[in-house]
Each structure stands twice: as C-alpha cells, then as structure tokens.
C-alpha cells in the first residue's frame, strides 16, 4: 500500500516513514504542499498524511485541491501542532478523515494509520 506523506520537517518525515515502513507501507515524501499536489495522480494512494504548516502551499490548500480533484476519495490524516477547535473544525469541513495533534507518539501514529488504511 502506498502512502503519500506531505511533511516539511525532515526528521519527523523520516520518523513517520520509518515507522510505517516497518508496518509494510511504502511511503513517498512530499516536502511541501505543491509537491504533494503534483503527486496526487502519480500512484494509487491508500492514504495522504498531511501536515498543515508547510511552505509554498499549506495543508489546507492541499486538502481543498484534493477534495475537488478526481482523487477526492483518498482518506486524509491531518497532522498539526495547532490543536484548537477552530482548526479541528476546519479540517473536518474541508474533508479530512482524521486529525492528529502534534507532537504524537510514533507508535500511536502507526496504529492510527493501520486502522485508517485497513478499513
């Protein structure tokens, strides 16, 4: 299963990729929002893991673009250090499937991804 990870923090991206690779997932990294958008159609993605605060195009813009594209049904796990209600509501309204507040425990993230992808 292929997972698209949009995350500009290098070490967090490595951590997520490593933990998910141990679970058997193939993770492709997009280092900013635009790279994520550019890769919507490059594979049959099982999940998009999306950071919000990213350069060039932020996670909100990526989510809007995805939901209005032909790949709109791809589930999205939003990761954000902003855990206020406004952001959680915003994520939900824009079509995020799940919202996980940063910082997270890497093992918990892996469990959540398993639940989402294995649905």
């Amino acid at each position: 299963m292929h997972i698209l990870l949009a995350e500009d923090e290098e070490q967090i991206a490595k951590l997520i990729s490593y933990k998910l690779s141990l679970e058997g997932y193939s993770v492709f990294l997009a280092k900013n929002g635009q790279e994520a958008i550019d890769h919507f159609g490059s594979r049959d993605w099982s999940l998009l893991i999306l950071d919000i605060m990213m350069p060039i195009r932020d996670g909100w813009q990526v989510l809007k673009d995805l939901r209005s594209s032909q790949w709109a049904k791809v589930p999205v796990l939003v990761l954000s250090a902003k855990g206020n209600q406004k952001d959680i509501t915003n994520a939900s309204e824009l079509g995020a499937t799940q919202y996980l507040r940063k910082p997270f425990d890497p093992s918990e993230l892996a469990q959540l991804v398993k639940k989402m992808v294995d649905l």
Binding site: E9, E10, Q11, I12, K14, L15, Y18, M53, S80, A81, K102, P103, F104, D105, P106, S107
Partner: protein, 130 residues
C-alpha cells in the same frame, strides 16, 4: 510508547533530530540579536514563530517533552500578543532566553531538559497564556 534504545535505525533518526537542534539554536540566536539591536520586525516575529511552532510539534515525538512545552507556550504567547514585534521586547527576550537554555541543554546533555519545566520564567509564560 516508542522504545528508541532497542532499534538502532530509530535511534539514528533521534540522533539526527538532536543534531538539528544546533541549527535551530543558531536561528533563535539570530532573532535574539535582532531584538537586542532593535531590528525585530514583523518578518522576524513570523520567522521565530514558525521556528517555535515547528519545535513544539516535533520535540516530544523524539522524547523531549519539556522542549515541546516551552516552545508551545511561546507559540501561544506569540499568537495571543496583538502587538507582535512592537510588544514588550524584554518579555520576548526572557521567553526566547528560556528556549535558548532548553536548546543548549538538550544539545549538550542529549536528554529532555525536564528541570526547566519548573523555571520561574516558564511559570510566568504559562500564566501569561492562560
């Protein structure tokens, strides 16, 4: 819970994170210099907020909860401060100084600077944001 010690590859990523703290410290010191020079403008304010926001969202995942606590509190204080860079620069120097101390300690000792959670400046910061 993540067991860093039992997985060398995972530990390697954690070491990379700790090493990256030196770069973040350098950036913070540049912002502190700007405040001291009276050159702390809105771009600097935004830059340092991105720095603390990213650190807040990252450090705990690598076993540095106090670094996250301090960064998140500064992030909240910056979000709530309507004056931005025109605000109380003595206050910002104090907060950034605490983060500088936390970063230096994390880099040198390579474990979470837990003792700083009880620092008077930390208590002031928490009080200011609640």
């Amino acid at each position: 819970m993540t067991d860093w010690d039992s997985d060398p590859d995972l530990m390697k990523i954690k070491v990379e994170f700790i090493d990256s703290l030196s770069v973040r410290l350098e950036m913070l010191l540049q912002f502190i210099s700007k405040i001291a020079l009276g050159a702390f403008d809105s771009d600097s304010f935004e830059g340092v907020q991105i720095l603390v926001h990213k650190l807040a969202g990252t450090a705990q995942s690598f076993g540095f909860p106090t670094l996250t606590l301090i960064s998140a509190a500064i992030d909240d204080a910056m979000t709530q401060d309507e004056n931005g860079p025109a605000g109380d620069w003595v206050q910002w120097l104090g907060y950034f100084g605490l983060l500088e101390q936390a970063l230096r300690c994390s880099i040198q000792v390579r474990i979470d600077p837990l003792h700083l959670a009880d620092d008077p400046k930390m208590k002031e910061l928490i009080k200011a944001t609640h």
